[in-house]
Symmetry: C2
Subunit: 327 residues, 2 copies
């Protein structure tokens, strides 16, 4: 994504733990060895992009900051700390103007949902939000994708077996379990949608509920969303609002089979919104469906947009000569 | 299902159109030829089970009734006529006591949803219901299942192609389009959930909204459901209510990976309910997830339960010697 967006990195250093994975990656046609991360790894690094599990971010983000690097972290380790901005640039990018040393990149489903909610919140205000997700298996990592593929191969001949850890199969199934469970009966993925939607929109009291469900899709998260608005909007008014926002594409002509699907969203940066309709069950409600690429806008694209804005560079790369660090 | 439930049919006649499909079916170890339906087909038939498209039911149900047969119809042709009872026996089976000549069998997703809603409605009353479905491809018929299978085989090697009719692939995708679209932006499948939930529960003003989505699953429909109640219920109270109802099984121990999934529901008659929790976003709300076999409780099982009650027979078959007609 850094290469695709023309990110103006002067030099790049790739860091990882010792175990597993590739030993090198090609960036702009040059093979870069992946080095084991050490205390000295962040010397003279301007920007560090963290894409790792919470304990790794917790262990190393402070070291990177102490060495002078700006940190954009894709884990959930710092997202709920009041002093850490949680940013979707199109929604609350102004938080980057005071140049925070650490910025958290939000949850993959939440990014798409707040992209859709923010224009409604600004135009008429939100009262309540309800989300049911259809999340792809790539969100659970590459091992999970392999389990989906092997489960599908088995499942073509008979019932797909449970996963290696004994949990229900991904293949030919839907599983209402993402991340661990909290004491209130919600999964942590569901609570991330609640907490992060409130924080990113700056609406700490917003009523939000979510059900997070894994579906046998490779890439692309979708969601059915219902909102209660402070003032009524027609479907046409909502579509017009969304169509004017960068990063959103309205795909809504169901009679011509045009509506958001994960297959259509995969490989693209836009959040697709469609199936927009007035909610029959309440006076100021709106119902819609969205899909976005969880690996792009749900993760890498959003993180790099944050980095671009932190460093004052545009996507076309107007400030060359700066160094960027990739993890 | 007639055989499995010991339905006390004296004799059975299998009727179909001339085109396609099997030429015979085995019932209780005996091969029965499938005959083309004619005006005379329903002579001396006591019960006719219709499992066909609306125009076929519209053309032949009246002929069957005129010949003296009781009709249980699985199409949606008669569901919305005031004088036709729409029945889920555990919910509004008392409508069968006045022995109507025609009974409509409800939509597959709606049956599972009203099974879950009815005990809540009776105990504390409902204010509003919101449903997002995860519906299996068998609900679209056997051709659709073949498209899922071939799409999955293609999809293991690259992107699954669109369906033969140009619509988005089922394989490795989710598609927010079931049945045709209405002028209000809802699909007809979504409106069936609205209309039929109100009719079966006897609550014509109930606020209901739904999003109906096809997922790459063979058998088993699931749904994320949120209800606003007239009086608050805890998750434990709701689980206790459901556990006391025949036809419902509470599967709700997420820390031990116990929650409803379509793979677990497939092949069973029970509606599985789990992931029960107080709704964080409203004071008297409850959120839960359900799964049921759309071919059994969502179709055949429910139709046969209706027939059993119409004829005054129990599932174990206490009134032998009556004739049943299967289409």
């Amino acid at each position: 994504m850094l290469e695709e967006r023309g990110f103006p990195a002067g030099s790049v250093r790739l860091l990882a733990s010792e175990r597993g994975g590739a030993r090198s990656l090609v960036f702009r046609g040059v093979s870069h060895a992946i080095e084991p991360v050490t205390e000295g790894s962040f010397a003279s690094v301007e920007l560090a992009l963290f894409a790792c599990a919470n304990p790794v971010s917790e262990a190393w983000a402070g070291i990177a900051r102490a060495a002078g690097a700006l940190v954009v972290d894709n884990s959930s380790a710092f997202r709920y700390q009041d002093e850490v901005p949680l940013v979707v640039p199109e929604v609350n990018g102004e938080l980057l103007e005071r140049c925070p040393a650490l910025v958290a990149n939000p949850n993959c489903s939440t990014i798409a949902v707040v992209m859709a909610l923010a224009p409604l919140a600004r135009a008429v205000g939100l009262e309540r939000v309800e989300v049911a997700t259809y999340q792809s298996v790539s969100g659970a990592g590459s091992d999970a994708l392999e389990e989906l593929e092997s489960g599908v191969r088995f499942g073509l001949e008979g019932d797909p077996p449970p996963r290696r850890d004994g949990r229900p199969a991904y293949a030919f199934n839907v599983v209402p379990h993402i991340d661990r469970f909290e004491e209130n009966g919600y999964s942590r993925e569901e609570m991330k949608i609640v907490w992060e939607t409130r924080k990113i929109l700056g609406l700490p009291q917003l009523a939000v509920t979510a059900t997070a469900v894994r579906v046998p899709v490779r890439v692309g998260h979708a969601a059915a969303v219902t909102v209660s608005l402070k003032q009524a909007l027609t479907a046409d008014e909502a579509r017009a609002l969304w169509a004017s926002v960068p990063g959103i594409e309205v795909v809504d002509d169901p009679l011509r089979e045009r509506y958001p699907t994960p297959l259509e969203a995969a490989g693209r940066d836009a959040v697709l919104i469609g199936r927009v309709r007035r909610d029959l069950s309440q006076s100021r409600g709106l119902v819609f469906f969205l899909a976005s690429d969880n690996l792009r806008k749900g993760a890498a694209t959003n993180a790099i947009q944050i980095a671009e804005r932190l460093l004052g560079v545009s996507a076309s790369g107007v400030r060359p000569g700066r160094a960027a660090e990739i993890r």
